[in-house]
Amino acid sequence: MSNTPLTFKIISDMVKDKSRVLDLGCGDGGLLSLLIETKGCRGTGIEIDEKAIYQCVEKGLTVSHGDIDSDLSDFSDKRFDYVILNESLQQVLHPRQVILEALRVGKQVIVGIPNFCQLSSRIQLFFGGRAPITQELPDQWYNTPNLRFLSIKDFRAFCEEHNIKILRETGVSKNKIVRFRPNLFAHEGLFLLEK
């Protein structure tokens, strides 16, 4: 899953010490806490789930109860060193606009996506004829919070089309970094972007 120690570590390695971070869809604030404690970052989050807001505040975080589809307009240009979209992009209504907005308010953007074209998904689609259910995509079609299903390759193509530079890319599968053909073997892709 997205909130594994390895994913957090990869993201944390992308972030320079003492930087300003905005975590979009920050959930219970686990990643933000880590960045504040280990990297001395100043951070704030946006989260849509009311229960998660209590968890964030209890951790001593600054958090805004809001919608990342609409609330990025609150911030001025390049306000943050990093804007993080870890496992939240596939749940927004307007991903293109959110990424471009994230690149406006952040100097760099970190994106983590579940890879819909990982091998086991392809097998389930091809041989089972069913929408895939994997560890990273555990929900049925009727109850998944995900609105978008994309692959690592799809995301690379998106960046190219929009003149977004991919500064770093890491594929992850079950707590291992996938270096060989990540679009086939990684369950998750992590990107460091700049425009």
Binding site: E50, I53, C56, V57, G60, T62, S64, H65, S76
Partner: protein, 379 residues
């Protein structure tokens, strides 16, 4: 009295701005001497860095927590202020003062005008939210506190807290605004005007000169009934009263009370008359209607003066001070690169939620204050 109560408390008073140092109000008129009724809970620490000023809502008073000797009810925010509570009196020194214009021990239209020896009545100057804040700064100075850890309040209290943050940015570390807004909309002004008209059309009102005579009880009760409708939500009224009849099996086909909600409002109105002054209701509702934090250059610009960290709490069913106003407020604070956390709590209790949803607020306020305390000590 629960075991976490602060116990027996007393209201104190502080009088200042005596002649010739009267306070010049927003209106240009002068007021003095001014008396503020206030209470304090907990202990001020050695470096005076743990003080929290809590502001009350429209008809509230200085008695925020604990019990008055022989009283049947605790202070209005007793669920939030006390040992181990959201505003933990084991750690913080909490102050609450009655606003000027009110009738709960602070200078207001029912107070005696020192120049005439009679109650002010309508000769009491119209006061604003800013005037209330300025007068309470005198009290905080008197208590020897340069910088408050926090200013906090719900409804009108939230507006006062926000006003403090822009008026005295160096005198506060954080602001907690609950079920609040930044200016009164046409609808809010309209509701207040109906309440004022209810009072002023009562023949006993006598242009405000009714002290020592028959008070405008019917008008005041009616105005409180209107108020109570705005404090609840359709859902909370439906859940509480529905169409239940009161004291009868079937409809009476007359104009006595049929429904429980009618009798509830009447009870609320009548009990309010015994505890509140009609003129104060006029003054305080006017102060709220006059309040517009965004005047003189827009909301973003106004908060450019602020330095505090903010926690803004709103409630989904609050139609009097709806969550969207809190959102606009948060947007303006964010635009100034200030530290702000906000939440819209799902609740069906309407505007009253801020007095009801205690557990959810505790989960936010206690850790927020803990963080700010830590940050303040590290500076």
């Amino acid at each position: 009295m629960d075991e976490n109560s602060i116990g027996i408390v007393e209201t104190k008073t502080y009088t200042f701005c005596g002649s010739p140092n009267e306070l010049v109000l927003n209106s240009g008129e002068k007021l003095g001497p001014i008396t503020l009724a206030y209470e304090t809970y907990g202990k001020l620490n050695g470096d005076k860095s743990n003080a929290i000023l809590v502001f009350h809502a429209l008809t509230g008073d200085a008695h925020a927590a604990g019990w008055h000797e022989g009283a049947k009810k605790a202070g209005w925010w007793d669920s939030m202020i006390g040992p181990g509570k959201s505003f933990d009196t084991n750690q913080y020194f909490v102050i609450c003062a009655n606003v000027i214009g009110s009738c709960k021990g602070s200078s207001g239209p029912a107070s005696t005008n020192p120049k005439t020896g009679k109650p002010y009545g309508l000769s009491f100057p119209v006061v604003t939210i800013e005037d209330m804040v300025v007068s309470q700064k005198h009290l905080v100075n008197h208590l020897g506190i340069d910088k408050l850890l926090c200013v906090a309040g719900g409804s009108m209290g939230g507006l006062l807290a926000l006003k403090w943050s822009v008026l005295y940015p160096d005198s506060v570390a954080c602001v907690i605004g609950v079920a609040t807004n930044y200016r009164h909309t046409a609808q809010q002004i309209a509701l207040h005007e109906v309440s004022r008209q209810a009072i002023m059309s009562d023949p006993d009102w006598q242009e405000g000169d009714y002290y020592g005579k028959s008070i405008p009880a019917r008008g005041l009760a009616l105005s409180r009934m209107i108020g109570h409708i705005t404090y609840m939500s359709e859902k909370s009224m439906e859940e509480r009263f529905g169409r239940k009849l009161i004291g009868k099996e079937k409809l009476g086909f007359d104009f006595t009370h049929d429904f429980e909600v009618e009798s509830y409002l009447k009870y609320r109105g009548t009990s309010f008359v015994q505890r509140f002054d009609a003129n104060s209701y006029l003054y305080l509702s006017k102060a709220l209607d006059y309040c517009d934090l965004s005047e003189g250059g827009g909301l973003v610009n106004v908060f450019s003066k602020a330095k505090a960290s903010f926690l803004i709490i709103s409630f989904s069913s609050d139609w009097l001070y709806p969550p969207y106003q809190s959102k606009q407020l948060v947007k303006a604070i964010k635009a100034n690169d200030l530290d702000v956390s906000n939440i819209e709590i799902e609740s069906s209790y309407g505007h009253d939620s801020f007095l009801v949803e205690v557990d959810d607020q505790a989960k936010l306020i206690a850790p927020f204050l803990k963080r700010i305390t830590k940050e303040t000590n590290n500076v």
